[in-house]
């Protein structure tokens, strides 16, 4: 039977009409449905698809809203009418709809109260989309990259003036109100608030906090350029201010590469008056100014997490430079591994999917290694040319998430296969002693990043053994037990492949240092 409902001179916006149209067709017993304004052409379509009735032709006009339904029974039509009424009147039910609006306007219609948007559109469109959100008082997480610094500055100045967040551009990690956004881990709710200008650095600190049994209040990303002079640390300031005023945040942790000097000074000045403890990790930066302002400087991302947890618990502070397994055990293991190696084996190869973790590892090891060749070198003279296709040189660290490796490919945290191939390639190098890798799990990451990596480690170790060498593979897993991939399952998979698995990037680098120091 064909049934009709007409609402005279009734106007509903297009998104609502689209929702109704989609949802009616899904109702049991509804064979076909047409929704719209009663214009001649819509009436014609109703005729074409068998949904017109004499009543329809006689009563509907261009200014009337109609619902025409072909259904099994009166009961089904009543259910359809009820559904229409719900969608027109109950915004809360619209939130639960499976309709995914293709536009911002549509999203606002589905949930007029939304106040946070994650933007991942091509870079050239991103600033406009972000500004549209800010215009509607919606905070922004700008996942997109290729946004110009001028655009970033304009967006952030507007946002700062209106007390709105622009996390990004190129911001991969945030946890807002306990909801992980983009690449983030399942971290319990707790008393540590973080403002961070680094993706995997944020994941490392928040994951270790979770591993230590604590949680986070908010994790606010700023994007990597926020603390440059051009931007002036606007989002770091705003984020810091938000955490200072947040009663649920008891301890604040700031994570970034070393900022421009005047920006660092300004941020530290705000932090010193926070009225709550602030741990600062300017990765590889000079701790003197931080400590001079009465703030707590961290030695590594891991140390930042340990110190934040200690402050939260009221425990005494100390630099965390140890091994979870015990220093003696780590030393013995490193010595044993080094003892199995051939004389030719001298160098470490660090293959990272996380840029900040790669940068941190190099900074932690540079004093001992002297030169580290890389596609993201610490010193210009150590730049490794043709990093993607060319061979490694002596101590080499590669960030597989850098542009050179991601042209035409997904980010290695989504598709780690290129890194796995490199593990096998470098494993064949008679001079390679240790391969050091990260394995980042959590939302956004590959569903099982340890699978490819453990296969590659197994293959590389076997190949080396055939040639009379012992290849050491050290892996740090960044993540939590609650992550979809599960920390312990991931660690186990890598251990089964013969990797030495450590709970932090800093411990992994310390372990590699011990192995290299014990080489013949």
């Amino acid at each position: 039977m064909v049934k009709l409902e007409i609402r005279k001179n009734a106007y509903y916006d297009s998104v609502t009409l689209m929702l109704i149209s989609k949802d009616l067709k899904k109702l049991d017993g509804v064979k076909e449905a047409l929704v719209g304004m009663g214009t001649d052409l819509n009436v014609e379509i109703a005729h074409n698809i068998g949904l017109a009735t004499p009543e329809f032709d006689a009563n509907v006009t261009s200014n009337d809203f109609f619902v025409a339904v072909e259904c099994d029974s009166e009961e089904v039509f009543e259910a359809a009418q009820k559904k229409v009424e719900e969608l027109l009147n109950k915004k809360s039910e619209q939130k639960e709809s499976t309709y995914y609006p293709p536009t911002l306007e549509g999203a606002i219609k589905v949930d007029p109260d939304l106040n946070m948007a994650v933007i991942s559109v091509p870079g050239k469109f991103a600033a406009d989309v972000a500004q549209s959100c800010l215009d509607r008082d919606i905070n922004v997480m700008l996942f997109s990259d290729n946004v110009t610094i001028e655009e970033e500055k304009a967006l952030k100045e507007y946002a700062y003036a209106h007390e709105l967040l622009v996390m990004g551009p190129d911001c991969g990690t945030a946890i807002i109100n306990n909801i992980p956004l983009a690449f983030a881990n399942v971290v319990p709710k707790g008393g540590i608030g973080m403002v961070c200008a680094s993706g995997t650095g944020t994941q490392e600190v928040s994951s270790i906090i979770a591993q230590l049994g604590e949680g986070v209040s908010q994790v606010i990303g700023t994007g990597g350029r926020d603390l440059k002079k051009d931007i002036g640390g606007l989002m770091m300031k705003l984020g810091l201010d938000a955490l200072i005023n947040d009663p649920n945040t008891k301890v604040i942790t700031l994570v970034s590469k070393p900022p421009a000097a005047e920006i660092a000074s300004m941020i530290l000045d705000i932090a010193k008056d926070a009225g709550k403890p602030v741990v600062v990790e300017f990765i590889g930066g000079d701790p003197k100014e931080i400590e001079a302002k009465g703030l707590i400087a961290a030695k590594s991302l891991e140390d930042a997490a340990h110190k934040a947890v200690a402050l939260l618990r009221g425990e005494p502070l100390k630099d965390y430079v140890d091994f979870t397994m015990g220093n003696d055990k780590a030393e013995a293991m490193a010595k044993e591994i080094a003892g199995k190696m051939a004389k030719s084996q001298k160098y470490v190869r660090g293959f990272y999917t996380g840029g900040t973790l790669c940068d941190e590892a190099m900074k932690l090891m540079i004093d001992k290694l002297g030169h580290i060749y890389s596609n993201i070198p610490l010193h210009a003279e150590d730049k490794l040319e043709n990093a993607r296709t060319g061979p490694s040189k002596e101590h080499t660290f590669l960030d597989f998430g850098d542009d050179e490796f991601t042209v035409g490919r997904p980010h290695p945290m989504i598709d780690p296969s290129l890194r796995a191939e490199r593990v096998i390639t470098d494993g064949k190098d008679p001079e390679c002693a240790v391969i050091l890798c990260d394995c980042v799990i959590g939302y956004g990451s590959h569903e099982d990043p340890a699978a490819d990596l453990s296969d590659a480690i197994r293959t590389a170790k076997a190949e080396a053994e055939k040639e009379g060498r012992y290849l050491c593979c050290v892996v740090e897993v960044c993540g939590t037990e609650g992550d979809p991939q599960c920390l312990s399952r991931t660690q186990k998979k890598l251990e089964d492949a013969g990797a030495v698995v450590l709970p932090s990037n800093a411990q992994a680098t310390r372990f590699v240092e011990r192995v290299l120091a014990n080489l013949k």
Partner: protein, 300 residues
């Protein structure tokens, strides 16, 4: 009692000038979360929320506002002048210090600004439609997307629109437009949005080349189309018949016809396409069809 005052920061220039010399009265026609339409002696006036692109005969609030939460109802009395608009007795929409925005094709493309308009490159627009075109609208008339009953009905009727416009035959254009208007799910049915985009492009050509006959043909076709759809959607078609088009579409057309780079065009097209459910992509489709399927352009 002190009324609730809503501040306006931008107003369509034509609307503002009309309000300065008239004091129209009317009533609230329809209320949405982010827009309210007023049916007045001088035509339909829209008040749009901050963040929306300005439409012809509309004004935009300086702050975010939920009109549904303001207690505005269909039928509430309205009176307006150059200083502001009263909705009932409790809400005053202030036009004090407002920025006037010229939304006329004539303002953007002065008469004779091009001796002959060159066919612009539609590729940046097609790219946006490929990215966010919606299969429920009419984007599939321009790019490869699944069909639907609306596109099936409209598609065979478009060639007559192109032919009549090219021939500058007002009667035939009226008939062709009437056979297209009012088709689709939305409040502004998809085909109306498509016609709006199509007529906007044609208005630019007519204005820039001082082609009076073409202008008259478009105007009559747009008015005819307006008669075949609902009041709100028809209002936009009536505005385009007068050469008044939305802020975002006008910006896109300026970039397109004055030869800006593809990146800027893409950004502007993306903004147009982002409006509403399918309204934006359908408008963009109309612009693309006008560029691709009519043969009245001088080729590069």
């Amino acid at each position: 009692m002190v009324p609730r005052i809503v501040r306006i920061d931008a107003v369509c220039g034509t609307l503002f000038r009309t309000l300065l010399i008239t004091s129209p009265k009317g009533e609230v026609h329809s209320v949405f979360e982010r827009a309210v339409n007023l049916d007045t002696d001088i035509g339909m006036i829209s008040i749009l929320c901050k963040g929306r692109g300005l439409q012809p005969f509309s004004c935009r609030t300086a702050e975010m506002i939920s009109f549904l939460s303001e207690g505005i109802h269909t039928g509430d009395p309205v009176k307006a002048d150059g200083e502001g608009i009263w909705i009932g007795e409790d809400l005053y929409v202030s036009l004090s210090g407002v920025q006037q925005v010229d939304m006329s094709v004539a303002g953007a493309f002065p008469s004779g600004c091009f001796a002959e308009v060159v066919r612009p490159d539609p590729e940046p627009l097609l790219k946006v439609l490929r990215e966010i075109g919606d299969e429920n609208g009419l984007s599939n008339l321009a790019v490869d997307l699944p069909g639907n009953v609306y596109a099936d009905l409209i598609n065979p009727r478009l060639p007559e629109l192109y032919r009549s416009i090219e021939a500058k035959d007002p009667e035939a254009a009226e008939r062709a437009a009437e056979r297209i208007a009012g088709c689709g799910i939305g409040l502004t049915p998809s085909s109306d949005d498509l016609l709006n985009g199509f007529f906007s492009v044609m208005q630019v050509k007519a204005q820039a080349e001082e082609d009076y006959l073409l202008s008259q043909t478009i105007s009559r076709a747009a008015v005819a189309a307006a008669g075949k759809t609902n009041r709100i959607s028809g209002t936009f078609l009536l505005q385009v018949s007068k050469g008044q088009i939305s802020e975002d579409v006008l910006h896109l057309l300026k970039l397109l016809f004055y030869g800006s780079d593809a990146d800027l065009i893409s950004k502007a097209a993306f903004r147009v396409a982002s409006f509403g459910s399918t309204s934006g992509t359908d408008t963009l489709t109309g612009i693309v069809l006008a560029i691709i399927h009519t043969s009245i352009w001088r080729e590069k």
